[in-house]
Symmetry: C2
Subunit: 353 residues, 2 copies
């Protein structure tokens, strides 16, 4: 039996406690400063209020002030926050993680330097650690098409555990594998993080066609806009693959679970898709951000801001051409400049010809 301590008690972190506890492991779930009500609820009733499910026996919930107790002696230390919490997680985990632990992250996204150089979030996490400690633990992450609630209700889910150290990956995969939670492993750590970060960009784009349909009053018509969505998906997939090559992932990682599979599931719905729908209906993005979806976590929008924002400096430095990433550039124009819906079809797929 292993002990897994998780910082962050959001729905994904909590969903992952199901396979772990069903395999007989002990989970210490530590809320952030934003999770106080969640921890309170789990401590009192066992129910995660956002997931709307009772967690299994074997999960112990801790408020942040008890984090030291929760992480003491853990075999696995998980970063369970989203991309907005990566600095928070880095600061706390740098103190909570001890030599010999296996660090496992579900925090996805990238950060950019001013010149456009992009870093995957596990590396951002590492930046908070004492350099000696960085070497005394192993680093891994979970990626792949995985809606948290579906994991929690035991629906088949296929994911990839990626990292530098195959032995740790095998150990971690073994902790999680059940008859519904299917785990593959890969040492293409960077490539899988690139896929996990960039697929969120295209989730926002996946809502635009549906928004247009709503604007036209045609959402219940016989003929909808699957052709539109498919073309956007295809261009998104092309760009995801190009990001993979540009940033140093293994090109094949753009295929399969960590690339196109994750992009597929992210395009099926959720907050980023809904934000795209509003824009498709004709709402300026600033209005979505400041009113309609004020305070809602939009990881896709954040990915567009960070990664899309890096494209201009990368172009100026000659790393990419001005014709590269036309969809990502257009999405950036939507969220930064309130660009209206006017899909640049003729720039897609290398330019219409």
């Amino acid at each position: 039996m292993a002990t897994i301590a998780i910082l962050g008690a959001g729905i994904m972190a909590t969903a992952l406690t199901f396979p772990l506890t069903e395999n007989g492991h002990r989970v210490h779930l530590v809320g952030t400063h934003l999770d106080q009500d969640i921890i309170d609820s789990i401590q009192k009733t066992g129910v995660h209020p956002n997931l709307e499910l009772k967690v299994n026996d074997g999960v112990t919930a801790y408020q942040l002030e008890d984090a030291d107790k929760a992480f003491a002696g853990a075999d696995v230390a998980m970063s369970g926050v989203n991309s907005f919490g990566v600095h928070f997680a880095g600061k706390h985990l740098a103190r909570l993680v001890k030599p010999g632990m296996k660090v496992l992250s579900i925090t996805k996204g990238m950060e950019a330097e001013e010149d456009g150089t992009l870093h995957m979030l596990p590396d951002v996490l590492k930046g908070f650690f004492d350099p000696e400690l960085v070497e005394q633990v192993t680093w891994s992450a979970i990626v792949g098409p995985s809606i948290a609630g579906e994991v929690a209700v035991h629906h088949d889910t296929c994911v990839v555990f990626c990292g530098d150290d195959q032995e740790s990956l095998d150990y971690l995969a073994d902790l999680f594998r059940t008859d519904y939670y299917h785990v593959w492993t890969s040492t293409d750590f960077l490539g899988h993080e690139i896929g996990a970060a960039t697929k969120n960009i295209y989730a926002f784009a996946a809502g635009l066609g549906q928004g247009l349909l709503i604007k036209e009053g045609k959402e219940d018509d016989k003929y909808v806009r699957y052709n539109y969505n498919a073309a956007v998906f295809a261009q998104g997939q092309k760009e995801l693959r190009q990001f993979m090559v540009l940033l140093g992932g293994v090109p094949e990682t753009a295929d399969g679970l960590g690339g196109v599979g994750d992009m597929f599931v992210t395009s099926m719905g959720g907050r980023n898709v809904r934000a795209g729908e509003y824009v498709g209906q004709g709402t300026p993005f600033s209005e979505v951000r400041d009113n309609l979806m004020k305070g809602v976590t939009l990881e896709g929008v954040n990915a567009i801001r960070v990664i899309g924002g890096a494209l201009e400096p990368l172009t100026e430095r000659g790393v990419i051409s001005a014709e590269d990433f036309p969809l990502c550039r257009y999405l950036y124009d939507i969220i930064e400049n309130d660009a209206p819906l006017d899909m640049p079809w003729d720039k897609f797929f290398g330019g219409e010809k």
Copy 2:
């Protein structure tokens, strides 16, 4: 102004008359022996009964017995039938097509020899032609994510015109391009036909997860089975790419419109997905075929039968390994042997590890 003669008056053939006529071209739409009522309806009322739309002026509908008149002097001769009609189309077009015409096919799929060797349908069409005539015309096809009705109601659609002759492709693309029908061209004829044929295999698979959800009575639940569908989609995309390499297409054609884009749109719904849903609900496929969907054209099932059926001889000949194409092999087992729903997850993505 060009004259385009189309053999076959199904919904896709008819949908394509919209961009053509809106560009000022003349279309002669010739029904097959199965299309008599359609032609009758268009001749009397202008309405295509399955598409439920009135065709534009500029479309003239012909019964099969008037095909010679319809094709006389045409600039473009189109095969507008589905894969089940390829022999029919071959026999008739071999007579109707004259030197100098541009042959353009929307007939997608493959045919297999006994040893598993697969042929794309434009080559099957060619086989009916006098060898001299084969050289006196040019050969092209339309592929990409395109639901017919959406084209007909002017919803943005991105497609690829593929063929051997770039000049013909440019000419044909120019006939069709409008502000909603976006056309790219490619001389990877074989690769695009492989994508168009194999994507249908995975459309059937796209229905299985939804069927399982219905069987469980959970289709209106908060948590559905997008993770399931995404993993199936990802494995399907991996196999589509492997088919591309195996059969001699350009690997990159598995990306973009002709590969993943077309697979995406085909997975969103339609008859093949519905057939998969029945199997997901626990109905043996033979029951779907012989009762529930008797007489319904299932191109995906046909693709599984032909291409899936070729895998065993190809394995015996050592062309592929027994571990290759686990999803396609399983789908073949469903439609040929009434295999129940039991997704072979552990064989996907090179084997769970």
